[in-house]
Every structure is written in structure tokens, then in C-alpha cells.
Symmetry: C2
Subunit: 343 residues, 2 copies
């Protein structure tokens, strides 16, 4: 490995001068600067970021800790974060905790000293590990996580409001027996969406809540779809807690010869890119997840730059929006019309 010493030797100056010349700090004669640069180029010298960050105290890297890396949801999130990071000249360390708080803790530990900030999405009950594992001096922003468990700034999408609005939308279209496929047990977003569903149903005069278990995966949605289709008093609409489950459910319904939306309406949450393409296209709640990531990173960057500005601890809630497509029976020729070009 070629170090600053090698450059100093070749340019016949001290290492301090090399550092100054290369970083444009302090004063160094143009002639010498030139000589140093030539030597550095010749040797293909690049400073060792680790050593550098040891002394300057900045790594220009932030970590993104996610429960999983699979699927369009996280892909969108990573994309948003990446875009903002690049804009800020920050590097991105992506890590997945696999819903396991032990792994998450060890991941955070290993990150110590190599990141300037942490962006964590900890939707489950394991959020407590943050207190234990995360150094208190590390700027941290939470995503879609329980706010009361931690004193960190948090960004979340309006899961409750979105779910309530979606359920109301179905009620407004005349559905009376609306089932809900819930997200994973213990998951914050799952609970919020369930809460929104319940809130909309309350006092609406429609059939009481009908909740079937799920886990946010396509397979889970498929199984839930089988349950729904096999029920004695079949619901006339199903609101799945996310799009992936709605898609799985759709497959199960198709196999059970339940037509969507004629026999049963079906809606999701998230508006992942896939939602436009299934047939019928999925009515869903759009949560602009890339923007969520982007904003979270902006906030984190702010925290990093002005360590003091910790006053805005309050959670920021991103609005959501209902996207009506064919699967809820809205369009006459469902499946044909709304499959337009993406965003």
C-alpha cells in the first residue's frame, strides 16, 4: 500500500507538506504543490480514509439499517436515501437486521467509528436494542418505528390515516363486509394500519371488523386469501395491509374462482411499482417511500452538521394518498384503463 510517506519521499518534502498540498490547506508554494501532485498521481496515491477519519472525526458515511433488503419497498427506500446521500456527498452503508435484535445490535456495534450517523428502521418490538447498542453521541433518525420507545427523531408515513381513508373509501363504494389482512404481529406499521381500519369501521354501520393474520409477504397474503375465500359468510371487500399481500391474495382468490372486483374488492397499501401491473390493477394507498428515505437522510445530515439542533425531536409524518385503480371496482373496464405509464 502506498502511503503519504511514499509521496513525501518522491516529492522530497515532508509528509505535512504533502497533506497541505493535497488538501489545499495552509500555505504551500505553487511549485511545490505541483511537484507533490505529480508524485501522488505517479504513485496512484489515495489517502487511507480510515486513518483520516480517525483524526478528523468524520467518515462521511451513514448507515441504513433495515429489517430486510428484499422487495420493492426497500428498494425504493434505499433509492431515496441513496439519492439524498449522493447529493450530500455521503456514502451509504446498508445493513439488514433480519428482524433480529441481536443481529441488529451487533451490526450497530461493528459500525461504531465508521459512520457519522444512523438511519434505522425498526418496526418490530425489538426497538429497545437501540438504547443498548447505539452510542448516545451518534446522530440517529428512525423510520417507521414506534416513537414512544425512543427519543430519536422519527419519520413515518401516515399509516393510520391511510388505512382509515382506504377503509372509508371502500365503505363509500358501498361495501359492507370489509375484511383486513393484517401485517406482521408486533410490527408497528401493521398495528397502525389495523387501527386505522378499525377506526373507519367503528360506527359505520358496516359489518364488524374481520381480521385475518398476515406477515407482509406475498405467501402470507396467499394464505390469507385462501382463508378469506373459504369463509362461510364471505366478505365483499378485502383491505390488505400492504401490496405484496394483496397480490398474494389476488392469486389465491383467482384460484378459488373469486372474481376481483366483481365478487370481491381488493386493496393494498404502499403503491409499490408492481401494483399498477397486476390485473386488475390494485387500488392502494400511496406512500412515497423514496421521498421518505430522502427526507430521513436530509434530517440525519442536518443532525450531523449541527449536533446541537436536537430540538426538533418531534416525529414527522408523511401524508399518504389513495390511488384508485381497478381492483376496488371503481373503473368500469377494470384492468384496462389505469395501466398507464409509470409515475
Amino acid at each position: 500500500m502506498v502511503t503519504i510517506k511514499d509521496v513525501a519521499r518522491v516529492a522530497r518534502v515532508s509528509i505535512a507538506t504533502v497533506s497541505r498540498a493535497l488538501n489545499n490547506k495552509g500555505t504551500v508554494r505553487p511549485e511545490i504543490r505541483e511537484r507533490v501532485q505529480r508524485a501522488a498521481r505517479k504513485l496512484r496515491y489515495t489517502p487511507h480514509s480510515g486513518a483520516r477519519s480517525l483524526i478528523v472525526g468524520r467518515t462521511h458515511t451513514v448507515a441504513l439499517l433495515l429489517p430486510d433488503l428484499h422487495g420493492e419497498y426497500f428498494s425504493e427506500l434505499i433509492r431515496g436515501v441513496d439519492r439524498a446521500a449522493r447529493r450530500r456527498g455521503l456514502h451509504l452503508l446498508v445493513s439488514s437486521s433480519h428482524g433480529n435484535s441481536g443481529e441488529a445490535a451487533s451490526a450497530v456495534q461493528a459500525l461504531n467509528g465508521r459512520i457519522d450517523g444512523l438511519l434505522a428502521m425498526v418496526p418490530g418490538e425489538e426497538a429497545g436494542f437501540l438504547h443498548e447498542a447505539v452510542p448516545h453521541t451518534l446522530p440517529t433518525v428512525l423510520l417507521n418505528s414506534r416513537t414512544h420507545t425512543a427519543e430519536y427523531p422519527t419519520l413515518l408515513v401516515d399509516d393510520f390515516g391511510g388505512a382509515r381513508a382506504m377503509t372509508s373509501h371502500l365503505l363509500g363504494r358501498g361495501y359492507r363486509r370489509i375484511a383486513h389482512i393484517r401485517g406482521a404481529e408486533g410490527n408497528f406499521q401493521a398495528e397502525e394500519r389495523l387501527r386505522g381500519y378499525r377506526a373507519a369501521l367503528k360506527g359505520s354501520g358496516a359489518a364488524p371488523p374481520m381480521v385475518v393474520g398476515g406477515d407482509f409477504t406475498e405467501e402470507g397474503g396467499y394464505r390469507a386469501g385462501q382463508v378469506v375465500a373459504g369463509q362461510p359468510e364471505r366478505p365483499d371487500a378485502v383491505f390488505a395491509a400492504n401490496d405484496m399481500m394483496a397480490v398474494g391474495c389476488l392469486v389465491a382468490l383467482r384460484e378459488a374462482r373469486v372474481r376481483v372486483p366483481e365478487d370481491m374488492a381488493l386493496t393494498g397499501f404502499d403503491d409499490i411499482p408492481l401494483a399498477r401491473f397486476v390485473s386488475p390493477p390494485l387500488t392502494t394507498v400511496r406512500a412515497d417511500i423514496a421521498t421518505l428515505g430522502l427526507r430521513a437522510l436530509e434530517r440525519l445530515a442536518g443532525l450531523i452538521e449541527a449536533k446541537a439542533a436536537g430540538d426538533a425531536q418531534v416525529a414527522e409524518r408523511l401524508p399518504v394518498q389513495i390511488v384508485v385503480r381497478g381492483s376496488c371496482g371503481a373503473q368500469p373496464s377494470a384492468g384496462e384503463r389505469s395501466a398507464g405509464l409509470p409515475r
Copy 2:
């Protein structure tokens, strides 16, 4: 920040003893070890990875450099790499170069000293930057990149073979006017797939190659679809260089009232998760992209562990497989049958 010194002070031993006690190196009395561990826990001490890697020369981190982070293709890749990395106890630094060789170079520079190895996907013509920017001592593995430009170990999917097989499949089904929507100009995979398409057509007796421009994006596929649909002598089949373009093309065809597969067959490449869900489901070439990532990381890890084992410079080519679904006219009731459960 709490350092090893603080722990030493609290445990009333020297910093050397703290290091030994925490890393289980050297000999230290159980009683003392216990005392140190208690102190470390109490202070929430985690070693500064930067400082540590400075001396041990290992960061246990590898970087994954991708042209972009958007879409299911990269999501799958990241997932495969992440899985393998986690298994090896490695951390993952994800960076996107946005097809810009300058950015890629600066990204690699900034990574110097904080990674043990580099996994780079550089499909474009900018691959030359690797020579300039990547330290020669850094273990590096290339993904889906031109092999002749660099002397690095490379993993690629069999783009040529897959494209040829797909085109042959269409020929076998009786299609005679097969068009190809090509991938981005200068992109290695685009060229390989185009080459495969041409090879299959050569001497087949079918109409000569009909290539329309594309860029691997859905929008590009959409525009290409409009071109195809508007042609005077319309092709009876279209083979898009990837699934995203096929999907975009499908939308354009639908708008132009061209039925798939009745009026025109349509196939893609990659078998992204979405392919199963469009209607009709897409016949495509499956490239197990997660496995590609996984294998690439395994290979890189091998390189890191045994610096010497650089003999196997030869490119590793992963086989692909044709997945027949409704969009090529194979199934009688296209769109109904093959939408089974995922993988």
C-alpha cells in the same frame, strides 16, 4: 466518545489488558477479565472500528458498486450479496455510480482504506476507470462486465446463450418476424443479448433482424412498443432485452390495441418478480440474479482471505433458463394458468 482508556481507568488496569480481555487474546486472569467486561458494559464501550482496522488491516467490509439502485434487478442482486456477506460476517457498503465513470472513480477513491474488497458492476464503456482508480492491491470481482477490459475475476450471466435460446424458442413456436428491443447503447449485456438474438436468427429462414433502440427502462420499452406497433409490416413477436422494457412495451401495445399474445408474442429477460404478475404473464429468461450476487461475494471473500489465490482469473458464466408463461402464446388460457405462487 468512550474509548479504551476510559474502560481501563474504570477497570483499573492498563489499556493493553482491556484489549486482551475483550478480544480473548493473550493471557489475563478470569477475575480481571470479568472486571474489564463489566466496565465495558457499564460504559457502553464499543471499539472504534476505524482505529482498529488501521492496525489490523482488515475492515470486514466490502463495497458493492452498481450503476444504479433502482428496480427489482438491483434489489435482487443486493439481496444475494447481502445474504452471502452476512454469512461471512462482512459488512456491505452500497454505492451507485449512476453510469458516470467520474463518480465511480471518486466513489472508489473515498472507499480506500475502509473496505477489504470491491464488487463492481460496470456494464458500460466506462469500465476503464477501474484501472485508474482501483488500487491494485484491492481484491476486486466484476459483475456482468466486459471481461477483456480488465484482468479481474468476473461473474456473468449467460446473456448470449439466453438470448439465443429465447429467440430460438420463438422460432420454434412458429414466429417468423421477430423484433428485438435492445438495451442501452454501449452496455455489455445489451450487446451480448443482441448478439444472441442475431445468432439465432441467422440462417433460420425467418425475417432478418429488426432491432429497435431501448435503454432497459420501462419508459424506453414503452416508446419501443409504440414504434413496433406502428410499423408497416408489423412483427409477430417481440423479444425485449429485459423484463422492464417488455412491461413498458406491453403497455404500449395494449394502448395500440395489439393483443398479446394473439396478435404479437412478447418476451423479456431476467425474470424479475414482476414478470409473473403482468397479464399475460411474461415468458422470459431466468437469470438467478440473487445467486449471481451471492456467488460473486463468495468469490470475493475467497480472494480476500487468500490473497494469493488469484489464479482463477477466468470468468464464471452462470447458466440461464427459459421460463415459458403466457405472453409467447404457449398456454391456451394465457394469463390464467401460470400465475401461481412465487418461486
